[in-house]
Symmetry: C2
Subunit: 227 residues, 2 copies
């Protein structure tokens, strides 16, 4: 499904070159459940952004369903980002002037889903993350963990084939975090492909495979007990 | 040092009233090391914002050094926020157009510290959080955990008497997080008062006392083994 081949991401900062990713090769089959771990600054979000078609490598290739993402037209890329991939950002990236309901609804608007069905699916998505009573709150009227959960609901509402979640439980207490992870387990059982970035070992152990990055390189790539 | 007395924080949302905090009474002595835990939405950040003089209660009182914060003049409040309190925000709140160096430098500029001494203290603060080589990066050119660490450096650079840190290790791997916590231990030994919000038990156990919130109320208030 996802083939990252000898991918490097370089940033030139004046005299210095920073390798956010350095010759990374990763292959992800459909319906996998993969966790990515590694120290702060090791390249996890950079890798996620490339997989999510939000960023391009400096060198190397990314094939999605065996087609070079480089060769997708702009329209096809927009479609992939809207319908095939659900992205939970490390910094949530919610629209500050819209309430939780509207934030979660937006992907459905872009997908052309009619109003009545949209309302039903948004309510359901908010309910699944425990925020049924927070739909009218704007991000500034929500706690940090509530914003994180709105970001999760928004990523899942279009039922994307691939879920990319960058530290989805970082701002959540254990119990609320477990509810989100149970939701992810369910999606995985329903056939979706999940890639989670996490720095918590217990979260990573729910995945079937753990890739560890260090300094932009793959340090290890192993199945877990659950895998 | 800090006396929160029967504090309530209410939000009126149309027909509904939300109690972010509901009759909370907490007393914090100088040089304490306190952790605040509780589920997502239980009122932790709201309490921190009130203690940090960034928000006011709907009812109840807050005395800082035995003076009602309500009665501080605007100038005195500004002084308190700049020099007495260092705040690590749950969402970092860095200035997007300034690099890490400039972000950490700002509290020193407001405190009237001369340029040469500022430069030295900023370099030292960045070094303490492992970001000596990231001074010229703007927030968008930093990883999530690196932004968090810039926020920590900024909060500590003025050597404030009171450090308020809202989930300071939420975006950090265990090892980098431990470096930040070791830094906090050191500050505590040097006489500072620390209040950390965390949802991780191991982080809370480094404090000497844990207050647990639930639905805006204090559920428990106990010493730890370290206390
Ligand atoms: N401006 C606001 N208007 C309405 N409700 C608000 C507002 N700000 C916060 N709230 C509500 O107050 C409650 C407490 O929020 P707070 O940010 O203190 O929670 P928290 O314990 O820090 O949560 P988290 O662990 O998720 O960060 C939440 O239920 C939130 O929805
Ligand atoms: N625009 C940029 N310009 C320069 N360097 C960058 C830029 N974006 C990221 N970096 C650097 O690339 C490296 C990898 O960043 P990335 O965000 O992928 O790390 P991460 O593993 O997600 O870290 P964290 O766990 O802290 O979120 C970091 O060292 C960061 O400073
Ligand atoms: Mg990251
Ligand atoms: Mg909070």
């Amino acid at each position: 499904l996802i083939e990252i081949d000898h991918v490097t991401k370089r940033y030139e900062m004046g005299a210095e070159t920073i390798f956010a990713l350095n010759d990374v090769t990763v292959s992800v089959a459909e319906n996998s459940y993969l966790a990515i771990m590694g120290p702060s600054g090791s390249g996890k979000s950079t890798l996620m952004n490339i997989v999510g078609c939000l960023d391009r490598p400096t060198s190397g290739t990314y094939r999605l369903r065996e087609r070079l993402v480089d060769e997708y037209s702009d329209d096809e890329l927009a479609q992939v980002r809207n319908r095939e991939i659900g992205f939970v950002f490390q910094t949530f990236n919610l629209m500050p002037r819209s309430d939780a309901f509207r934030n979660v609804e937006l992907p459905l608007v872009y997908a052309g889903v009619p109003p009545r069905e949209r309302e039903q699916r948004v309510r359901e998505a908010l309910d699944h993350v425990g925020l049924a009573d927070r739909g009218k709150h704007r991000p500034s009227e929500l706690s940090g963990g509530q914003r994180q959960r709105v970001a999760v609901a928004r990523a899942l509402v279009n039922r994307p084939a691939i879920v990319l979640a960058d530290e989805p439980t970082g701002n959540l207490d254990t119990r609320t975090g477990d509810e989100i992870l149970a939701l992810f387990d369910q999606l995985h059982q329903q056939g979706q492909t999940l890639i989670l970035v996490t720095h918590e070992e217990e979260v990573a152990l729910r995945a079937h495979r753990i890739i560890r990055l260090r300094d932009g390189r793959v340090e290890s790539d192993e199945r877990t007990a659950a895998g």
